[in-house]
Symmetry: D2
Subunit: 357 residues, 4 copies
């Protein structure tokens, strides 16, 4: 039997996408009679019929490259809970193009949004396999997504650099780390970088508690404080608001970024000079770490094996040290926030790291 | 209740030792009434009574540091299977010094040798907790040891650099990676670095097969080949020898390192210029990766919690994504070689990586 | 003859300070009969008499460390042009303490502010030697200051990471690089990182020209644009304002950072999504690069040689590939901005990099 | 006027080749009406007529890439001093192909061998411009070659990693650094890495002196010693031999690499455990540093400007902080070894670094 496999990357890009694409392709070429179709710019390419038949050589030399050779775009649906006419049209277009391309299977690399769409297409009768990528690590059912540990390494390197300069002056340094809904990246890099305070979306903070940490450290002659703050960190007041009201309040704020807002508050409360660092998209960029290259490769190879076995409607997952899979319908749309009682949060507390709560 | 905790690092050093020491200390100071005794240079310091009471400030600023602030030494016993008089004396000395220091518990950070001694001391009635560190990842019962992923990152970076220069000339590059008995480091970094051939102690190779890979790649106009070779990799002929004979044969070889031997053989067989890279101890050095800092910290904190709970005779372990523990007696002396049928070996084969077998 | 050398680091910290301190100390201990006095936190320590006699061992192991083991502080004078009473008191205190410490010489590591004070103390009759450090590279009379090339490396790494992620989406990325008055850091890292647009304090930009670059690139199907923007970059309108008015206008702006302001303008003008990255103080942190370690060591050793020769009132300098020196009075207070006609600016223009002018 | 520019990279590859190629191309496309011919694998491609007309897009995205997109090969002449028949044929072939390609100019990127050939072709009437690249920094007339500072950074990183692991045990670590005839790379990275001993081709060593350093350090309770040894370092006995005899003696040695030979000698003389690290070709690999990207770009742009001005028979050079040029005939075949009285050697001595002399 010969196969035509479509492959796309969707959502925010992250390190390891090319390594995973290469894993799928190389294992597929070796174990199957296969033609691989590269779909451009995520689901948009599937909707528009924008694709090309790939040459085997196009998958060479991409293991170490950041970004994605296929391009990506945001999820094509504004609101997947509502059956809007526009959505129906898009789903129809994707099914038509899947058929027009004569695909036997679609491999979709992405995060939560990508997996929701993958599940929808699977329910529509297409053969779909998901691969969980995101620097946010917030996909249910897998111990880790690829891209996450690379981003942790980058954010930790930022904190490391700040440490030396912070120690030379009397200062509080506020580092804003990616993660709007899930705080895993901030939590891991905060611990790895030796932060004194970690603020997460999942654990609302009281700014008074943060100010106390700074003052307590000054009292102990520790002349600097490092805060690792998730983009989506929330104060208790904000957490009590409705989402809509919270976003409106933030839009009106004098400070565009939470780190700037927190720094201004703390400077006023403590009198200690506070500076911000906003590494932003650099957390998504560059070559994947060795860990993520191995993980991406294993995910990709596993996807090829599932295709060989004719098993679809699944997404690949890391469980302990083994790669296996979950049903798309079981994980699509299920968030994986940091549990405030997670072992690693308790570890951080034992290290005297404050969550401001 | 107040505690006196002795802590030592033994065996080859590796990144994360200081992070783990800091984890034990910081969690212990926060949750217990504690005095921490730093024992110098591994078990040698316990035998000689070479130690100091640590100040809390000595555990600050060491999270990112390579090496070990306590120093280390090789395992004090030549041959633990034989009850030699010398060994009996050493064990006696260690027990005496444990009592003289008035320790409530000894925390020993190390690899397989360290854990054997830790188990022996535990059986002699001392309260012992082990922490599994080694860049070789060959300790039974834990998914990963700390230090391993940092070393994988370093070895992968070496392979990455070699890739660009190899691609400019027609060459075969042989990179010798640490690991005498266990091939995990070579396996992971070989996959992460995109090696074409991986030679491991656990999978005896036939040099003819390796030569064929080089020739096949030349035939496909791929003008270079990358070999990741473990220090302890063995040809089939060597694997058939007794250990003593094998070591004698190696000592007589013209080439001191396996990479040089393999390179010379391949150059003669294929006519392709072969060069060697021997990164050696740089694989043990430098700051631990973010992954290993988090793992080391979690291990250290867990050890402190076990002390609080009065649970001894254990070693800390990573199982899936949770830190728990194993009994020292269950894991001491149990090797963890690469299983030739391990999922990750099969993954590598699916990626068309040759093991020369 | 025996010497007592005082040493201090002043102004913003930067990589290489410890390497330079070690250079002075190690060469002084080897070639002179010497006692070294570490003055705490820059000139503040000289004013307050906050210092300690250093042990030779304190200069070991610091070559690779970021920050400064002596601590630092901002220049003690608000406005050195005006002879304020407060300034007179401070100068008096410094002279008194110099004598109280029985110093033969003061070595001051710092930037332009530090050198102004060093020159003032020299004119007051103290034996002073300056060492030019700053990531801004804006000290007159030396080809490079130490710290600069390390910062260029860090900023370039940021741009590199942004490149991969920018290429996956259609975006304009605005990276804000340190440098309020001098654009060297932005100029070098912009070229090294392959930026499309570089905005500097020395070359006022017209935002229309920047928007045109984005649009022109879109027209050529280049789907992303990278801007390297110095903190102190100025539009033509701003450049025409008096400094006071400009600062007032900025303080009232909705956007705290120039990158956020520029991104908002460009997003509105072009419709292309614009994101900002503000690496901030991470550009001052971490281990100095090999280049800066060699330069810092050479500067430090040269200072020790000048002391041996009894030559004071000087600052060390790199000229071509040789270390020599300048008179403090010749360089103190002389700025070194980027000359818009500098060879390297013209090189950038030849590479089709826009300065927005 | 329209131009056809041929470009080739010859000799050992090094970081920055692609950045320099891009510099030439981008400046040429912008300032000239130009077609660029990529000649494959150095002078071999010019001899064989192996080349292609490049597309402008082929020069995009290569700034950060190691290696060379054009491939390289060793210099085509065995012995350029002798006018061999074979050489005459090769020169003839190169002239014929230069004409067949209708080139207006040939840009040759390479080291000393490359420049000798470039000069020969220039004397034969071809329009030639050289660009000095080599990690060895041994090209006369330029302060630095591109590739050098990247290699210094890599070798320094190796020494840094060794430092932490060396400090945990009692050991002497011998790091073998590239450089057969010139010791610049070992000298700079030895200083930057804080080596205790530096052995260079230009300063013959006495192994007794090296052993004394190890013993003296042990006496001062410094429990490790770091040696940075150039591949081509020579003992006094070797230096006294004729080259032919020296090479014969080395070929017969039990140890293939100088680091292994030195380590064995020192271990026997001092009883201290000695280990070797041979980073080899990794010193040529990977992305160029920011410093080298700027330098390569400036060199490339300057070459394009020389073409525009119709100035040939030159090689580009860094003098102080300006890019200018030298005549090929003035620099071809002129070595640039480390002068034992160079300021930087004296700096190293002032830092108490031993050269074993």
């Amino acid at each position: 039997m010969s196969y035509r496999i479509g492959i796309l990357t969707s959502g925010g890009d992250c390190p390891g996408l090319n390594a995973a694409i290469r894993g799928v392709a190389r294992a597929a070429y070796q174990t199957l009679d296969v033609e691989i179709i590269g779909i451009r710019a995520g689901y948009r390419g599937l909707i528009d019929g924008d694709y090309q038949v790939m040459q085997q050589s196009q998958f060479s030399g991409i293991l170490t490259m950041g970004g994605t050779i296929l391009g990506t775009s945001r999820t094509p649906f504004r609101n997947m809970r509502v059956v809007e006419e526009d959505n129906v049209d898009k789903v129809h277009a994707m099914k038509m193009n899947y058929r027009a391309m004569r695909l036997d299977c679609l491999v979709a690399l992405g995060g939560n949004g990508t997996h929701k769409t993958a599940n929808m297409l699977s329910k529509e009768g297409l053969n779909v396999i998901g691969l969980p990528k995101t620097i946010d690590n917030d996909i249910y059912g897998t111990d880790f997504t690829f891209g996450f540990h690379t981003a942790v390494g980058i954010a930790t390197d930022v904190i490391d650099r700040i440490h030396t300069t912070a120690a030379s002056h009397n200062r509080c340094m506020v580092i804003e780390i990616m993660g709007n809904k899930a705080g895993w990246l901030t939590l891991y890099s905060g611990i790895a970088g030796g932060a004194d305070v970690i603020l997460l979306p999942e654990i609302p903070y009281d700014i008074e508690n943060v100010a106390k940490v700074i003052e307590e450290r000054a009292r102990l002659d520790k002349n600097f404080t490092i805060l690792a703050v998730a983009e989506g960190a929330m104060s208790r007041e904000e957490a009590a608001m409705k989402r809509k009201d919270r976003e409106a309040a933030r839009a009106q704020s004098e400070y565009k970024n939470i780190s700037q807002r927190v720094a201004a508050q703390l400077e006023q409360m403590t009198g200690v000079e506070c500076r911000t660092v906003i590494p932003g998209h650099m957390q998504r960029g560059g070559s994947p770490s060795a860990y993520d290259r191995v993980l991406s490769t294993r995910f990709g190879v596993h996807a090829a094996h599932l295709i060989k076995e004719g098993r679809y409607g699944l997404t690949v997952a890391l469980k302990g040290n083994e790669i296996s899979e979950n049903k798309l319908e079981d994980i699509a749309g299920v968030p994986k926030p940091v549990d405030p009682d997670d072992q690693i949060v308790r570890t951080a507390r034992s290290m005297n790291i404050s969550f401001g709560d």
